[in-house]
Symmetry: C2
Subunit: 691 residues, 2 copies
Amino acid sequence: MALSAGFFYFLSFIAAAIAFLFALYLYLWVNKQKVVNSKIIEVSKLISEGASAFISREYRILAVFSAVFAMIILLFLPTPIWEGGVWDNISMTIAYIAGTVLSAIAGKIGIMVATLSNGRTAEKAESGLKDAFLIGFRGGAVMGLLVVACSLIGVALVLMLFGDASIILGFSFGASSLALFAKAGGGIFTKTADVAADLTGKVELGIPEDDPRNPAVIADNVGDNVGDVAGMGADLFDSNVAAAASALVIASSLSGAADAINMVFCYMILGLISSMIGIANARVGKNGSPTRALNASTYTTTAVFLVLTAIATALIEGFSWRVWGASSVGLLVGVIIGITTDYFTDDTKPIVQRVAKASSSGPAFTVLSGVSYGFISALPAMVGIAVSALAAYKICDPIGEGYALFGISMAAVGMLSIVGMIISNDAYGPIVDNARGLAEMGGLGEETIRIADELDSAGNTVKAVTKGFSIGAAGLTVISLLGAFMSEANAVLSERGMDLITGFDIMNPAVFFGILVGASLPALFSAMLILGVDRNAERMVAEIHRQFDTIPGLREGKTAPDYSLCIDIAASGALRELIPAGLAAIIATIIVGFIGGPSAIGGFLLGNIVSGLLLALFMSNSGGLWDNSKKYVEAGNEGGKGSNAHKAAVIGDTVGDPFKDTAGPSINTQITVVSLVSSLLVSVFVSFSIF
Amino acid sequence: MALSAGFFYFLSFIAAAIAFLFALYLYLWVNKQKVVNSKIIEVSKLISEGASAFISREYRILAVFSAVFAMIILLFLPTPIWEGGVWDNISMTIAYIAGTVLSAIAGKIGIMVATLSNGRTAEKAESGLKDAFLIGFRGGAVMGLLVVACSLIGVALVLMLFGDASIILGFSFGASSLALFAKAGGGIFTKTADVAADLTGKVELGIPEDDPRNPAVIADNVGDNVGDVAGMGADLFDSNVAAAASALVIASSLSGAADAINMVFCYMILGLISSMIGIANARVGKNGSPTRALNASTYTTTAVFLVLTAIATALIEGFSWRVWGASSVGLLVGVIIGITTDYFTDDTKPIVQRVAKASSSGPAFTVLSGVSYGFISALPAMVGIAVSALAAYKICDPIGEGYALFGISMAAVGMLSIVGMIISNDAYGPIVDNARGLAEMGGLGEETIRIADELDSAGNTVKAVTKGFSIGAAGLTVISLLGAFMSEANAVLSERGMDLITGFDIMNPAVFFGILVGASLPALFSAMLILGVDRNAERMVAEIHRQFDTIPGLREGKTAPDYSLCIDIAASGALRELIPAGLAAIIATIIVGFIGGPSAIGGFLLGNIVSGLLLALFMSNSGGLWDNSKKYVEAGNEGGKGSNAHKAAVIGDTVGDPFKDTAGPSINTQITVVSLVSSLLVSVFVSFSIF
């Protein structure tokens, strides 16, 4: 069976449309679940409003930022406008704007549905685990479906309208801009609120976690949505689009370009279909385990994708089994990375228990052992990415010139094929976390809280896995972005009749220079975000103190605090602290490009990927490890709550919070932003560089 | 003036002989200083015996390890013995053994003189700062002179006797083997004792730091000598030899090989002479500052070296100004790295004060801010190394083929030219630290303790600088080792008529695979060392508890504890914990080599250097930062001793101890070991590799 490109565009739109309808159905299903408890309605409304307020504020700032970037793109990219090619610049600008807008829409709707689901999940928990789980999961699945459908439709539209794969880089850069704000900004927001609420609530005032007297408590709940629903969604939208963009750029330069491009679209479509099947089948028995249910759906999606792509490869003319092999390797390695991450962060496994044990010697040992195991935990994922890149390359190399790199990019596409399912799992986390808080605030009784706890705990376990997965996907994606960068650079060089780049030799001092500078960037970027959380939390702590000092009756619970002021501090501070970090990344790229030209940029990207992966894995995993060690101690081990081990574990958890929810996962976005800025500016670097 | 190679060998021996005589003079001068206080004599003897006992034990294990390696070298290196070239294998084995023995002798004598100087420094402090400083400094300078003289003589002898620069790699590997034991083993020893002494003494029992009732107090003092005198000395011996070895290997392959080799020796000789001049001029005025005195000698050495090498370049035929430029760039960048390190760790500068301020919000903030600034602190050094490599390359590239790489290796030689001075400054640290403890135990009165404190504080400040310097030097050295590795690989490949390696392209999947695996190794290695310290400290804490529980009158100070058991635990544990970490590094290298061949190893070395530099700088600097923040709080800031900020700062310091004194500085050695194993095994990897 031979199929045309038009057919796959058409299929992409059909698949996306089905996904939209499915998401609409899930939304309506969630919406019709009843919520009657007035306290839950009230608090849930506060959370929803707070989240919307932050999102609007973020989007307003982003709009200014995007407008500036859109102007720059219009003037300079892909080539300076005065050198001709005006239409290309306009196309790129439109693609860029479309990238930000589509990602923004997915984020906005996703967060709306998530904040709609939390109260409903809490109330449904009164009648058992089964339906409550479904509400939480389906609420999150809306975000998952929207992200994948929007990225598919966006990529297909851009390629169909402009007919040039490199314009998709503009779309991808739009997605990255949004992800930088959503992930890093959301990460600062959520940890500001979390740290400030814990510091003042649990430590100073001795009130429980979700106590409504604490002015930061709503901000904390808002933060979960803002960081994990909108942030993670935007991050994976970004990775997904970047993977597709680099695969398409590389595919366009191949001898069998048409088939290769069709394969990329076909795999993306089948990934979306597999995710829908996985989502539709997610359910938990009456006394079943929600963790198992979530994992089972992930495995279903994986298996369905492998089978469907195999069928497509068998039926469609021009589709290669080697490419199928590369994509399957990517997906399987993604799953393996998830499982090893789980080993380091699951409290039924030895590592978490050892850190809990170390905590009984004091907080320094909590920190030292957590850092050590965090360092070690990076190894399997790094080796996994290395092996999958090597395997994909070797599998596809015999097809023909350029196919080896295409194989790596298809490994990334394969790893990201189940992203719809991954986002659904991830967005489930904050919904049930919120639900637990709402069940407590609404006074729903012990049994309901126990059920909410069980749902929440599954969310935490799965979150660690999805984080490992998304870092792995970003790693593989960026390798193919490096390939895309080389393609772009060579396109510019050949146009000007200059020598082509055949590779980036580490013995070339410009490359080496780039590598060292690139490697220090993720460290700088993370440090700026963590210090940003510190500063912002300090501001919020001051506000909480002010409210307790000046609002009469607050301490006794007779009057309500002013939640909105805390939300305001979290929101404005997050965006203020984020901007220097984002600019530092972009400016460093530009400086390196102007000093060393495309070779230095190649090295810079590599150094950035390598140290970025290492630090992201280290920080995400040690953060998850500390969090679960604390929970393990709180479950009555090593002396339980109130023991010295518990005090130490709480300190570990506080250190881990910005590690795992702010800096660690934002490094992905930093890497993608830097890669895209490099690809976009390549013609400028070719023209003006010192060496 | 045209000079022969023989002339430079001759000069090397003369210079080394003068350095030995100078060291002997310093030893005799220190030895004739009187020490009369019986308590000081007693404790000082315990420290000296403990240090000797550890060193002997370490050397015994090392002897077994070296014997095994010597056999392997004899059988396989540089080529398997059954392929002929028996004489080469014997030469390499002899060189290897010479490397371990010479480094061991320097370490043994250095530690002997250092433990001789501490008591004398303490007693002299009674009559003022001036002479006490001189004893401390001159005691350390013996180690500095011996290290440089031994490495010079060793390198010259090996080249003169065997006439083949690549045999020097065997000598260098011997030095690395020893450094791995001395630095990482010493690092575990010292922090085991320090952490255990602090945990039980200050925290549990509430007795002061150097209280003689604490069974771990002598082990703690022994540890300072073992870690900072023997360990740092062996580390810099290793770096110095590795820099010389790689410069000589590269020099041998140049068109102007004879001149290039002469230049390497000439620069090393002039470095030794400059260090002697710097050491001879180190003194402090009656009310002068010891920190300033140490820094002034370093700057003197730097200036003298720059002038002497300029004169040599002007006078000697065949010496190139470009090479002088590269070497000067290396030296100046080394000094700049030292200064930036100082900015991050000096308590009169803002960073330390900010971390102290963050501590008042609790230990989590001490850790978070320290980690963040530690991350940031890596940037200037990484950029400095990148820029110096780029500059050295560009300066020397016009001389001819291969000279660019030679320029980089000469930048490393230049940076290490003042190593004699650096080691002297570094070894001064533990001597005056011990002296402070002895002054307290000997009851020498407040004014003497104040003077000892001032000497000690200078030691701490200078230590941070020397650590930054040694990491920078290792970074640059290893770049040139990468070049040496390529030369070695090509020698093997051309012998077999195979394609030569022209570089390591990061788009080559084998290289990329190597990079990712190489980058995760330093994280694994550091984690294993830190966990080793944790486990070992636990054992020692148990022993301290046992002594307090079972020795009657110990708590009241009526009976003495059994110091030797604690020393024993520190020693045996250190060596036990070290071996798996060292083996992991060597085995990883071998696996990568067998999978991906020389290309993967090239990537592996690069990944290892990049992440190794980043982590080493991060850990050394954040450790120094926490240490000095604690001292800053103890000086009465942020509430002073006993405040919440102080408690938090103590936790930060405990986290920082294994960071800065065990893991951070050991990474250097890990990198050198891995580089040398790679260079040595290159022919094996060429013969047997999967890809």
